[in-house]
Amino acid sequence: MASRRDFLKSTGGLVLATGGGWFAGHAHGAVPDTPGLAPLPAGATASGDLEALAGKVPLIKRSWRPPNYETPLSYFTTEITPNDAFFVRWHLASIPQLSAATWTLKVGGDAATTPFQINLEQLKRDFPAFELVAVNQCSGNRRGLFEPHVAGVEWGVGAMGNARWTGARLKDVLAKAGLKKEAVEIVLDGADGPVMPATPDFQKSLPVWKALDENTMLAYEMNGEALPHWNGFPVRVVVPGWTGTYWVKQISTINAVSKPFEGFWMKGAYRIPLGKFPIIDHFTTQMTDVNEPITEMVVNSLIANLTSGQRVTVGQPFVVKGMAWDGGRGIAQVDVSADGGQSWRSAKLGADLGRFSFRSFSLAVTPAAPGPMVIMSRATNRAGATQTGELIANPAGYHHNVMQRIDVNAV
């Protein structure tokens, strides 16, 4: 557990010695709202400055401590999000600086026969490495676009990124610990912690079946490099298809347990009402009569190259492009409309980097006559699920996949 002093030191990687002088030129509200979607709360836009954490390019600051920073829209025109532009999301403000040389992982729990501890070298050496490309998206991505607004981190569209992850299979690590047949959940805990002892530590659980999925990973590389500190160095859990809440950073302890985990971050947070979303994966040991843990991401798309009110030229094609993704069924098609959803055309899909990855799409649109046009994109996954036109309200502001409606003006 880190002290607040450690934290401030680590945040201030570019501490400026100029005192208050650097307030000058500090642009408030420099980032425009995402085109074609509802606006953020006014206070979120005003305080959403572009600021650079140590080792990161300037990202949209949502909160300093714990650090929450989102990736600007322009990065979503390519499939892979660079490590230095990848969004940052922490729940609790004690975030230690871990070292590859001293990091250890403890694996055990009451439903494991042979608890053990390993270091990073052993994790890399003793378990076969594999890689995959997967979207990491915060459950609350786009929370700030909910109307009415709901409290929390008021994210725009950039609390997500797509990376090529390399690591060991969680199932191989669990096999070494010897799962008993009584095991129902796998509890994940990172090295981060709360400032106040009474604050619930951030711990998550997975159903055993998801932990044993061949794609669930303990990742030690991200896009071919060590993970950035801010994204969970040296090892984080990667749960392809599921929202970022399960992708525990700085993983330090993994416990197989014989009873459903009771921690606050499972029982009291990250829950969605039953029956409202077209999801396939259910975390049954954590379900109640009214709600269940969030699991897979809903199908979604984002147009990343247009601005609201942009002028386009009659007779001249312009390209609509962006990314589509879902909870791991894979994107089947993306349709684009230039008339507010009255008619649709299939966009061209880019490289297939696997069913957990962003899939890029693009379509050239040629305005036929002067006047306003409304540009939309609509992704459909291989399970037939698609995006919604109307927001699906839920208390914590999850699963926003409302289609954009971007106004452009043909002249």
């Binding site: 570019l14 400026l16 030129g25 709360p41 006014a42 300037p58 300093w64």
Partner: protein, 94 residues
């Protein structure tokens, strides 16, 4: 430290703003001292403008109560009341 100063100079030249917790503009008023003293121990105060202006008094009361009951913030009932009033007066839904 030479290279460190260079990094800072380059960052400034490039117009990059380093991420570092700063004071936020707060209006004076009853409850301000209690708000700053209690809330900033666990999180930066920019969470408040971030979440504004859409909560009413009941909404702010719910947030402060959650901080105490769920996250274990050691805030006295008197301070909590003043904090809610301050937040609602300065960051509440108009």
């Amino acid at each position: 430290m030479k290279s460190f100063s260079l990094v800072v100079a380059l960052a400034l030249a490039a117009g990059i703003v380093a991420a570092q917790e700063r004071r936020i503009d707060l209006k004076d008023g009853p409850g301000r001292a209690q708000f700053e003293a209690n809330c900033a121990s666990c999180h930066s105060l920019d969470y408040i403008p971030l979440n504004s202006p859409f909560l009413d008094g009941k909404g702010w009361d719910g947030e402060v109560t959650k901080m105490i009951k769920v996250y274990g913030a050691p805030i006295s009932p008197d301070d909590a009341k003043l904090i809610v009033e301050y937040l609602n007066a300065n960051f509440g839904k108009s």
